[in-house]
C-alpha cells in the first residue's frame, strides 16, 4: 500500500525535522530575540526622547514616522541575522545530506533535483518566518505603548526581509551544493556577501555604473523596502537571483550527472540569469507604501511632472562623495526617476570626493535641459529642483495642500517590558523548546 502523502510532502517533513533538530537554527532563533530587542529598545527610547520624553523639547517628533524611527532600526537586526546566521542554517540543511550520505539515497528517487532543493528552500523560508516572530512581538509591544502601525509599510518591510532571506538561502544553497565541505560553502557565502558590500563602497567612491548596480545588492534592496519603497525591477531581479541560486543548487546536487555537463548547465544558467536581470531593469513601476510618502513628491507635484512629455535631461557636476550629490540623489532624483522614468540624469566629475574640483568654476552646477531650452542651478533641495523644472517646462508650481503634509506620530513612551521580553522570555522559551525537542530525539 502506498503512502497517502506525496513524496514531496515526505521530503518537506524530512527537511523540517532535520532543520529543527539542528542547533544552528535554534541558535539563530535564540539570538533573534536579543538582536531585535536591543534595536527596538534603542529605537523606542530615541523616538520617545525626540517626542518630548525626559525633558526634551516637545513637538520635535511631529514629523516622525514609525517606519523610519522604529521599524527600520528594529528590522535591521533581521538583516544582521540574515547575513551572518541564516547562511549557516541553510548550508547545514544542504551539506548535512551530503555529509551523512542521505543525498546518495535521495537522488535515487526520480523526483527532479529542483523539487528537492525547492523543499529545502520552502522549509528554510518557513523557518525564517518563525524567526521573524521577534519583530512581530516588537510590533505588538509598540501597539501596547499606544504606537500606530501602518500596515502597508510594515508589509513592505516584511516582504523585503523575506526577499533578502530568499537571496541568502539561494546563495547558501548554491554554495553548499558546489562545495564538498560546509566550511568551504560558508566561506564562499560570506565572501559573496562581503563582495556586495564592496560594490556599495566602490559605488560611493566611483559612482557611474556601480551607483546603478548597487541598487540590486541585498543591503540596498533591504534599505529600499525599509523605507517603504517597492521597485518592480528590484523585486524581479531578486526573484531571478533566488531562482538562479536554487537552480544552481539543484544542478550541483545531481551527483549522477557528469561534471562537464553540470558546468555547461551552470554557464547557461548564468547567461540566462544575466539576460533576465538586464530585462528586469526595463520594469519601471514602483510603489511608495510609506505613510509619509518619503519616496515621492507631493501628489500635486507628481501630477504636474506627469504633464511633461518631452525628455528631461539633467547634468550635475558633482563628485560621488560630495554630500550635496548624496542629498540630491536620495532626496530628489530617486523620486524624480520614479515619476519620470525617461528622465536622463548624469553626473560629471573628475575625482571621487570633489574636494579638489572646487576651483573649477563649473563644479556644483546642475544643468537642466528640456525641449531645446536649458537652465542652470546650484540648488540641491527638492523645492529648488522642482521649481527649475517647472520654469523650464513653463508650468506653474502647484500649491502645497496642508492636508497632504504628514504630521507624524510622536510617542513619548519608554520601552516598558521590552527588555524582559527580548532578553529573558524569548531566549528562555527558545531554550525550553530547543532542548525539549532535542531530548525527545525529535
Amino acid at each position: 500500500m502506498r503512502s497517502p502523502e506525496s513524496p514531496w510532502t515526505w521530503l518537506l517533513r524530512k527537511e523540517w525535522r532535520e532543520l529543527i533538530s539542528s542547533w544552528a537554527w535554534w541558535v539563530l532563533v535564540f539570538l533573534m530575540g536579543p538582536l531585535v530587542g536591543v534595536s527596538f529598545i534603542s529605537a523606542v527610547s530615541t523616538y520617545a526622547e525626540a517626542s518630548g520624553w525626559g525633558g526634551t523639547a516637545g513637538g520635535v517628533g511631529e514629523a516622525f514616522s514609525p517606519l523610519v524611527g522604529i521599524w527600520a532600526p528594529t528590522f535591521s537586526a533581521c538583516e544582521i541575522a540574515a547575513a551572518f546566521l541564516l547562511p549557516f542554517v541553510a548550508i547545514r540543511v544542504v551539506s548535512g545530506d551530503r555529509q551523512s550520505g542521505a543525498l546518495k539515497l535521495e537522488i535515487q528517487h526520480p523526483m527532479s533535483a529542483f523539487a528537492r532543493i525547492g523543499a529545502k528552500a520552502v522549509v528554510l523560508l518557513a523557518a525564517w518566518l518563525l524567526a521573524l516572530g521577534a519583530p512581530a512581538i516588537a510590533m505588538a509591544l509598540w501597539r501596547s505603548y499606544g504606537g500606530t502601525l501602518y500596515w502597508p509599510e510594515l508589509a513592505t518591510v516584511l516582504a523585503g526581509h523575506m526577499l533578502n532571506a530568499g537571496l541568502t538561502i539561494a546563495l547558501a544553497v548554491a554554495a553548499a551544493s558546489l562545495a564538498e565541505h560546509p566550511s568551504t560553502a560558508a566561506i564562499l557565502t560570506l565572501a559573496i556577501t562581503v563582495g556586495t558590500w564592496i560594490i556599495s563602497f566602490v559605488a560611493a567612491v566611483h559612482g557611474g555604473f556601480w551607483e546603478r548596480a548597487v541598487d540590486y545588492t541585498p543591503t540596498a534592496m533591504v534599505a529600499q523596502f525599509q523605507h517603504g519603497l517597492v521597485r518592480w525591477d528590484v523585486v524581479l531581479t531578486a526573484l531571478t537571483l533566488i531562482v538562479a541560486g536554487l537552480t544552481l543548487g539543484g544542478i550541483w546536487t545531481r551527483l549522477g550527472v557528469a561534471v562537464r555537463r553540470r558546468i555547461a548547465e551552470s554557464l547557461a544558467l548564468g547567461a540566462l540569469t544575466v539576460a533576465v536581470i538586464l530585462a528586469c531593469r526595463l520594469a519601471h513601476p514602483s510603489w511608495d507604501t510609506s505613510e509619509n510618502r518619503m519616496n515621492s513628491f507631493s501628489p500635486a507635484d507628481e501630477q504636474a511632472l506627469r504633464q511633461i512629455r518631452k525628455p528631461l535631461e539633467i547634468e550635475a557636476h558633482l563628485a560621488p562623495e560630495d554630500p550635496r550629490r548624496v542629498d540630491l540623489e536620495h532626496r530628489v532624483f530617486s523620486k524624480l526617476r520614479r515619476i519620470m522614468p525617461t528622465a536622463e540624469i548624469s553626473y560629471v566629475y573628475a575625482t571621487s570626493i570633489g574636494l579638489f574640483e572646487q576651483s573649477n568654476p563649473h563644479y556644483g552646477e546642475i544643468w537642466y535641459r528640456l525641449n531645446g531650452r536649458s537652465l542652470m542651478s546650484r540648488a540641491t533641495t527638492e523645492e529648488a529642483v522642482l521649481a527649475t523644472i517647472y520654469e523650464l517646462a513653463g508650468l506653474k508650481q502647484p500649491e502645497e495642500s496642508a492636508e497632504e503634509v504628514f504630521c507624524g506620530h510622536p510617542l513619548a513612551v519608554p520601552p516598558r517590558g521590552a527588555a524582559v521580553v527580548f532578553y529573558l522570555v524569548w531566549p528562555g522559551l527558545v531554550v525550553i523548546f530547543g532542548f525539549g525537542l532535542h531530548w525527545r530525539k525529535v
Binding site: 500500500m1 502506498r2 503512502s3 502523502e5 513524496p7 515526505w10 521530503l11 524530512k14 525535522r17 532535520e18 533538530s21 539542528s22 551523512s100 550520505g101 542521505a102 546518495k104 539515497l105 535521495e106 537522488i107 535515487q108 528517487h109 526520480p110 551527483l255 549522477g256 550527472v257 557528469a258 561534471v259 555537463r261 530525539k441 525529535v442
Partner: protein, 242 residues
Amino acid sequence: METKILASVSGMTKRYGRITAIHDVGFTIRSGEILGVIGPNGAGKTTLLECTAGVQAADPGEVAFGASRTCRHSRSAVLFYVPDGIAPWPNQSVRWAMDFMLGFFGGRRDLYAEVARDLNLDPLMRKAVGALSKGQRKRVLLAIALLAPQPVILIDEPFEGLDLRQSRELEGTLRKQVSAGRTLVLSIHQIADAARICDRFVLLNSGELVAEGTLEELREAASSRQGHAPAQDFEEIFLALT
C-alpha cells in the same frame, strides 16, 4: 537453469582526474540471483556499484535493461543502491528513517515487520541513526535496502561491521528475499562471505574486470589460466585469477 538477464552493464569506466578507478567493466545481472562483486580493497567495487546505480556519473558506461539503454530515471525504477559507511538522517530515529523509506520512496510496506524482525531492529527503533554503532547502522541500512520498491538492490559491503552470528543471519535474510523474487548485487571484499552467499561473481582487480561467472565457471577459468588441476577453494581461485 538459464535465468533471464535483467540488466547488462557495459563499458563502465570512471576516472578521478588521472586515476582510473574502473576501466571498461561489463557484466550482467540475472533475475533472482545474488551477484557478488568481489575484489581486494581499491579494486573499484564501490565505484562500479555507484556508476551502475547512477549515483555517480560514469565516463563512459551504459546500463541496459533488455534491449534499451537507460536514462537515470528508468534506472532508478529498477535499481536501488545502498552505500557503505553512511548514516543518513542522523538526527532521526530508526523508525522514522524506515517510515521515510516507505513514504518517500514508496517502499515495501508489506515487508516492514518482517525486515525489522529479521534484522533485529525493534530494540533500535527509538534510537537516532547517528547514535548507532557501526553494526547497528549497517542493519538499518540493510533494512532501508530491503524495503526499497525496486526489484534489484545493490548493497555495498553488506557484512561490514556485523559479527559472525549476524552475518550468518543476514545470509538467511538475503536468501529469503531472493526466493521472494528479489535480485541482489553485493559488493564484498571478504572472499569467504562471498563464497557462501553469492550465486555468481564479478571479479575485479585494479579497476579491471578479471572474470564473471558461477563458482564452477571461475574454477575452469582459473585452471585454464594456470594449466593444472582446478583449485577447490574460492580463495585459491580468486588468487589464481587476480
